[in-house]
């Protein structure tokens, strides 16, 4: 291995990438803007549920349910809607409707059988479940305060619940680290996957072959600059997460860097492997897309892993993003427990080594 050669080659690669103004902005600006956008926009809790109450104005209990729902901030009470509740739901005017029994809920409760109908739009299943959960809590409040006059209804075993790491259950604490990991994968993988095929397509690969440089040096020279670029992106997006979203950084910063280094090493190796397999840039990009997509879906960032069938769960062990998602959430939110840090970093390092070795084996420095 010739170190000066490696350095010179890496430098050429770095200059080539950063020369393009659009590439520079894609690398540095786009992740920052995207993290800000998605962090602000994405909430996985159910909000702004439009609710209509179908009850006589004198039916105080039914209206109390609706007003309390609006008071929680999760519901918007709609009054100007279709007279038929089913019509209001199917035309999309409301998401849920409370329909009081004939004679009113207040009277029915007096008779001891206060059943009120709750119609929910089931199109979005998670949203529908959220509606039912919220309404149930509101129902208990109404029972306690209005029916039992403050006396606790049927004393029950109390669960003294404490939410650790995220006491107010804010979704940005969960989403921002996840999106951060996804962005890092996307930038590094798409950049590297076309790095070698580009040389092939432009014809500069022949020049490389003629140069007195070993295949190993070419591969490492291709990998190094992108690892550096990826590590440059990291503090940028971390600043967004810390200052704009005030997502805490509870673990030591060195853990974060070690984890990111192992992760970016993995993604760059993966990109180079793809790039050795592809004939032209289009293939390389589609290959990277077909890798990126399952990586995101099987990482546990958006879709829970625990529910997956066994065979698929096994596949997730080969997904670098899965380990990094665990690592980054653990370091940012939980303080980076060593018992979780080392196995995951180890897995990433192992994956990176294997991927790089396979790429090296597959890399044929010949013209055809």
């Amino acid at each position: 291995m010739n170190w000066r050669m490696l350095l010179a080659f890496s430098k050429k690669e770095l200059v080539q990438t950063l020369r393009d103004r659009r590439m520079r902005s894609l690398l540095l600006l786009a992740p920052v803007i995207q993290l800000t956008l998605f962090g602000l926009a994405l909430h996985n809790e159910v909000r702004n549920i439009r609710l209509a109450v179908y009850a006589a104005p004198s039916d105080t209990l039914a209206w109390d349910l609706g007003r309390r729902a609006a008071g929680t901030g999760w519901f918007l009470l709609k009054t100007d809607v279709d007279r038929n509740p089913f019509e209001a739901l199917s035309s999309g005017q409301v998401d849920a409707a409370l329909v009081a029994p004939p004679g009113g809920l207040t009277q029915a409760v007096g008779r001891g059988q206060g059943r009120i109908q709750l119609l929910v739009d089931g199109t979005n299943t998670t949203r529908a479940q959220g509606v039912v959960q919220y309404m149930d809590a509101i129902r208990m409040d109404v029972i306690q305060e209005r029916v039992m006059n403050g006396a606790p209804f049927a004393p029950a075993l109390r669960m003294d619940t404490r939410m650790l790491y995220n006491p107010t259950l804010e979704s940005k604490y969960f989403m921002v680290p996840g999106v951060l990991a996804m962005l890092l994968l996307m930038v590094t993988l798409t950049l590297t996957s076309s790095s070698i095929t580009r040389e092939k397509e432009l014809g500069t690969f022949e020049t490389l072959l003629a140069a007195p440089i070993t295949p190993g040096t070419i591969l490492l020279g291709k990998a190094l600059p992108y690892i550096i670029l990826g590590l440059l992106d990291l503090p940028l997006i971390l600043c967004v997460s810390y200052f704009i979203f005030s997502v805490p950084l509870r673990g030591p910063i060195w853990e974060l860097y070690v984890a990111s280094m192992a992760f970016i090493g993995c993604t760059v190796a993966l990109g180079i492997l793809l790039s050795t397999a592809a004939q032209n840039q289009q293939q390389a990009m589609m290959g990277s897309f077909l890798t990126l997509y399952p990586c995101q879906m099987l990482s546990g960032i958006i879709y829970p892993l625990d529910n997956m069938p066994k065979w698929l769960y096994w596949i997730t062990y080969f997904n670098p993003l899965r380990y990094f998602a665990v690592l980054i959430r653990n370091i940012l939110l939980k303080g980076g427990a060593p018992a979780l840090f080392w196995p995951n970093v180890g897995a990433l390092a192992l994956l990176a080594t294997v991927l790089l070795l396979v790429a090296w084996k597959r890399f044929k420095p010949t013209l055809n």
Binding site: Q117, T125, Q281, V326
Partner: protein, 393 residues
């Protein structure tokens, strides 16, 4: 032309050529023909247009579900009495949790992710029940996954209620029924089958991604290879070039639509309550919008690598995250709800879900259709405008 000169391929391209000749101007048809050759020659493009829908259907239909179940809970029973064991058994029997005894410090159980929640039953639990007091158990939940944490809290409250009934039943008659109950009915999806929610959304995602990605690459490629200069020397006008580029991909997109529709109906039993004609019309519109979005990107960038990055940034993440596929648009802050209205997939999402689940008619879907049509016009207009016929950018 050595690989694709098999008689089958030749016959196929001739047929397709005849078809394009029927619906397109002559020059555009010739270009469409050329594009079909490109597609058929490259196994990757074909593989992707079939592989991506199959992969997504498999994952979303079979593997991914948002139900919170089998949550890992560890229990620290410091009382170890009949009543505390009754509580533990109720938690275990609820079906939501996988229960294991705690191995020490509850906070450590959570920080190392051995458990998502820890229940601590303090010593003296049974004694409190005996004295007629209301006992208390402690529940610690990992809040870093806020959605799961909320659901776990809700489940546990329910389980605690049931356990209390069991504990009381050992001594006295069960507590009275609640004075107010809900009779809940879910419309359009009675059993809240999450596949019914996912598959119509998947249609949007698959078309949107395939279309933007493929076209973004094809034009940029012609620029990079220099073959665009040759195209410009021919009598074909920009609109011809654009139509010729787009037409074959519209065909491939419709194939993907048919695949997702068929799999959804046959394999996953998703109902289709609207008009199939409207779905076809909507798909065509959306395909055209996405394809021209890709074209616009590639015309503007003239570089495959940049075009790819741009289409990922403007296509993939917004389509996945901001279209309402998983994260409801209604839950976003007001500014973003307005912002999402410039995203084509958000509108086709309304059409697709409306047609599949609600059986919505043309009147209810008029707005999304009009918006898509307007976007289609604008994108094609700008693509033609920015399709400069000069060689230097």
């Amino acid at each position: 032309m050595s690989e694709d000169s098999s008689p089958f391929m030749l016959a196929l391209t001739r047929r397709l050529g005849g078809f394009f000749g029927l619906i397109l101007p002559r020059r555009a048809a010739a270009l469409a023909n050329k594009e079909v050759h490109h597609i058929l020659r490259d196994p990757y493009t074909l593989g992707m247009s079939i592989g991506l829908p199959v992969m997504m259907l498999l994952l979303f239909g079979e593997a991914i579900s948002f139900d919170v179940k089998d949550v890992k809970v560890s229990i620290q029973d410091e009382d170890n009495s009949t009543d505390s064991r009754l509580l533990v058994d109720t938690i275990r029997g609820s079906g939501y949790f996988v229960v294991s005894p705690s191995k020490g410090n509850p906070e450590e159980e959570l920080s190392t992710e051995r458990a998502k929640a820890v229940v601590v039953i303090p010593a003296g639990f049974q004694r409190e029940v005996g004295r007629g007091e209301v006992p208390e158990a402690q529940l610690l939940v990992d809040g870093s996954d806020n959605a799961t944490a909320g659901v776990v809290g809700g489940y546990m409250a329910g389980v605690a209620g049931v356990a209390w009934q069991h504990i009381l039943a050992r001594e006295s008659p069960p507590a009275p029924n609640a004075p107010i109950t809900f009779v809940t009915q879910f419309l359009f999806n009675k059993e809240l089958n999450s596949r019914w929610f996912m598959i119509p959304g998947l249609l949007v995602i698959i078309i949107g991604l395939l279309a933007v990605l493929m076209t973004a690459l094809t034009v940029a490629r012609e620029w990079e290879f220099g073959s665009m200069e040759m195209l410009l020397c021919t009598p074909a006008r920009p609109l011809d070039i654009i139509l010729g580029k787009v037409a074959p991909y519209v065909g491939m997109g419709l194939l993907a639509v048919a695949m997702v529709y068929g799999a959804g109906r046959v394999i996953f039993d998703v109902p289709f309550r609207g008009s199939i004609l409207l779905l076809l019309l909507g798909s065509l519109l959306f395909l055209f919008v996405s394809l021209s979005q890709g074209l616009l990107i590639s015309v503007a960038t003239r570089n495959q690598q940049v075009a790819f990055q741009m289409s990922m940034m403007s296509g993939m993440l917004p389509t996945m995250l901001l279209s309402g596929f998983i994260f409801p648009v209604e839950s976003m802050p007001i500014g973003f709800r307005i912002f999402t209205s410039i995203l084509p997939p958000r509108w086709f999402m309304v059409i697709s879900r409306g047609l599949f689940l609600k059986g919505a008619g043309p009147l209810e879907l008029a707005v999304p259709f009009l918006v898509l049509a307007l976007m289609c016009f604008l994108f094609v207009y700008f693509a033609v405008k920015s399709f400069k016929t000069d060689l230097e950018p």
